[in-house]
């Protein structure tokens, strides 16, 4: 329906178009289109990223198929490549990081959200969030010159304490899966703390008050009521930290030992997906070698994508339902 009723000739634009043009001149449509362009750019860039990764890993994907994920040989001379040692190293270091980081992080989050006086809590949170801003290469720098020597001197103690498990056996050189895991834990702790603290703070006051009214102590309230209520969000923060640790490159490269083999012991050197790409990409001679490294990048991307998705769902679902 034409908004302007004075037009008669068929060469005039129709009503919808006229409305559009009026809004365009008024600026509304322009704003919409320009910002829409921004939004679409994001989609385009991401799509381009996936396409580039997929296409450039084609040589390797066609050569190895799905067995790429299960093969543990990495032999550039023979042209045989498999992702398993790197997937293993990535998962082991991240698992170790979580093992150290979760108790530390959740404990600190509880302290900051529930137990500390507000001024101290704010100041400490400020400091801890700054830790998240420290670049990865700096962690690597400290890892090489401080952490690895410390681990070397702590090795006898660790061995006597935990040497009965296959996890702490075998020779230890300093650079190792253990060192990688410890460095990662320091890097992901601020994320766990920051998000868990917010999630715990967001627990409604009436939950706490109800528990206290029923005679629970401060700690019982916190541990038995508040934290379970927030547990989905805390889980979400853990998954987010996991996603972050999977992709960490520099700090891990500098302390993991760069050995593309699977060892049971944490004392042994290892290799992560990000580290092998960083070390070998510029010198991957031949299309198959380079394709294999790009395929590793694709695997890492897929892994972080899945974990991130789970994290989002968990963080978003906190507070939506009352979980007792």
């Amino acid at each position: 329906m034409s908004a302007s009723s004075t037009t008669v000739t068929g060469t005039r634009p129709s009503g919808r178009v006229q409305l559009f043009l009026r809004r365009l001149r008024g600026g509304d449509e322009a704003a919409y289109l320009i910002t829409l362009a921004g939004a679409i750019s994001v989609l385009l860039v991401t799509a381009l990223l996936v396409v580039e990764l997929y296409q450039n890993s084609g040589v390797s994907r066609r050569a190895f198929g799905w067995s790429f994920l299960g093969t543990s040989i990495w032999d550039p001379v023979a042209g045989k490549f498999g992702a398993l040692p790197f997937i293993y190293g990535t998962l082991v270091t991240s698992a170790l990081a979580l093992l150290i980081g979760i108790p530390l992080g959740v404990g600190a989050a509880i302290f900051l959200a529930e137990l500390a006086p507000p001024r101290i809590s704010d100041a400490l949170t400020f400091l801890i969030e700054l830790l998240a801003a420290v670049p990865s290469v700096i962690f690597g720098l400290l890892g090489i010159f401080i952490l690895v020597p410390i681990l070397r001197s702590a090795e006898p103690a660790l061995r006597s304490l935990l040497g009965w498990t296959p996890l702490f056996q075998g020779p230890f050189y300093g650079v190792s899966l253990l060192a990688g895991g410890v460095v990662l834990s320091v890097m992901i702790v601020p994320f766990i703390i920051s998000i868990s603290r917010e999630v715990i703070l967001a627990v409604p006051a009436d939950q706490r008050e109800a528990a206290l009214a029923l005679g629970a102590t401060r700690w019982e309230t916190t541990w038995d009521v508040v934290v379970p209520y927030a547990r989905k969000g805390i889980m979400g923060s853990i998954f987010l930290a996991l996603a972050r640790s999977l992709g960490e490159t520099m700090a891990v490269t500098m302390v993991i030992g760069n050995d593309p083999r699977i060892h049971a012991s944490l004392f042994a050197p290892g290799y992560s997906i990000a580290a092998v790409i960083a070390n070998e990409f510029t010198e991957a001679t031949g299309d198959l070698y380079q394709g294999a490294l790009i395929e590793l990048g694709l695997v890492l991307f897929a892994l972080t994508m899945v974990i991130n998705a789970v994290a989002r769902v968990l963080v978003a679902s906190t507070g939506k339902e009352g979980t007792a």
């Binding site: 020779p171 050995d259 510029t282 010198e283």
Partner: protein
């Protein structure tokens, strides 16, 4: 007023770092083996010709081969000569030949960090093969104890350090091991990147020497100058004639002497395990990889001029850095070959 100010600001921003028109930046990448030599050469050459900058990135011979083939650098460098398959790949991708130009000779030495042992160790070929295959696991293994009577070797585990990147230094090392050990030849073979049976990886000669320096009871292989500059202990190696020889200018030069008779036209030759009483068995040439067709005339002239300089004045700078100068017949042959660069 503001519009011209904006334009001026934009122009200023766009020219950040813009050098004067005649600055020529030539990008190169490759071997870490000769990096100390090349960085000295390019620095001296830049002092001579301030408008020429040779930006050499030491990323490993594998990187040099890969990047020059991809065309992302103007020339490459390697101590493991390109094999026929790689030559073909270059020809297919770039439509011209890749030329090898030897620059200096150097040596791979077994560098080690053994607290409590101050004497220089002797390594036999069997010991080296065993260590890197993982069959010789402890420092006091008979293979190590026999050639080192009188040295108190500890019963600790040997920490092996190798290269994690594609390396010509590796190529030289495994080329030697392939020649002296059947087991190595069948199990691992030769290449710039191999499937190491044991050990930690370090990035570049720098990374391996750094790792060995930091790790007690470790052994690795690095180019001689890295061991010397960092005051690290390195061992003597038994050569084909049966003598324990230390890597230095004369023993490396002696190793090259035998190869002179059979120097092929493309300069790709291996001098490991060379005959001769005084030869150091793990010596090698190192090469610049230069495409036979260089489009940019300024760059072509800069590169060919540099090669001429390198073969004359450059050779006088090699000895303080413990690299051996090229034998005269090689220099003569190379000078002629420069004309192949079009």
């Amino acid at each position: 007023m503001t519009r011209s100010a904006i334009r001026a600001a934009l122009a200023a921003v766009l020219s950040i770092g813009m050098a004067p028109a005649q600055q020529v930046l030539i990008n190169a990448a490759g071997a870490t083996f000769p990096y100390p030599m090349y960085s000295k050469w390019f620095d001296e050459y830049h002092k001579k010709f301030p408008n020429l900058q040779f930006n050499y990135q030491s990323i490993g011979s594998g990187g040099g081969i890969q990047q020059v083939t991809a065309g992302t650098v103007d020339f490459g460098a390697t101590d493991g000569p390109m094999n026929d398959a790689q030559l073909k790949e270059f020809r297919d991708k770039r439509g011209c030949e890749i030329l090898h130009f030897p620059t200096v000779m150097g040596a791979d030495v077994p560098v080690y960090n053994l607290p409590g042992v101050s004497q220089q160790l002797n390594f036999t070929p069997e010991a080296l093969a065993g260590i890197f295959l993982g069959t010789v696991k402890k420092w006091n293994d008979p293979e190590l104890a026999k050639p080192n009577p009188g040295v108190k070797l500890p019963a600790t585990d040997i920490v092996v350090v190798h290269r994690s990147d594609g390396s010509g230094t590796t190529y030289v090392w495994v080329d030697y091991l392939t020649k002296i050990s059947k087991e190595w030849e069948t199990k691992v073979g030769r290449g710039t990147s191999v499937n190491w049976p044991v050990g930690l990886g370090g990035k570049g000669n720098e990374g391996v020497s750094g790792q060995v320096k930091q790790t007690p009871n470790s052994v690795g292989y690095v180019e001689l100058i890295y061991a010397v500059q960092n005051k690290m202990a390195y061992g003597k190696v038994k050569n084909a004639a049966g003598a324990f020889v230390q890597a230095d200018l004369s023993s490396v030069t002696a190793a090259a002497a035998g190869a002179m008779k059979e120097m092929p036209d493309d300069f790709r030759v291996s001098i490991t395990n060379a005959p001769g009483n005084a030869s150091y068995p793990i010596s090698s040439f190192t090469w610049l990889l230069i495409p036979s067709k260089i489009q940019d005339a300024t760059k072509r002239k800069a590169i060919t001029d540099f090669l001429q300089w390198m073969l004359k004045d450059g050779q006088n700078m090699t000895e303080p850095l413990a690299y051996a100068r090229l034998p005269q017949p090689v220099i003569a042959k190379e000078t002629k070959a420069i004309s192949k660069i079009q």
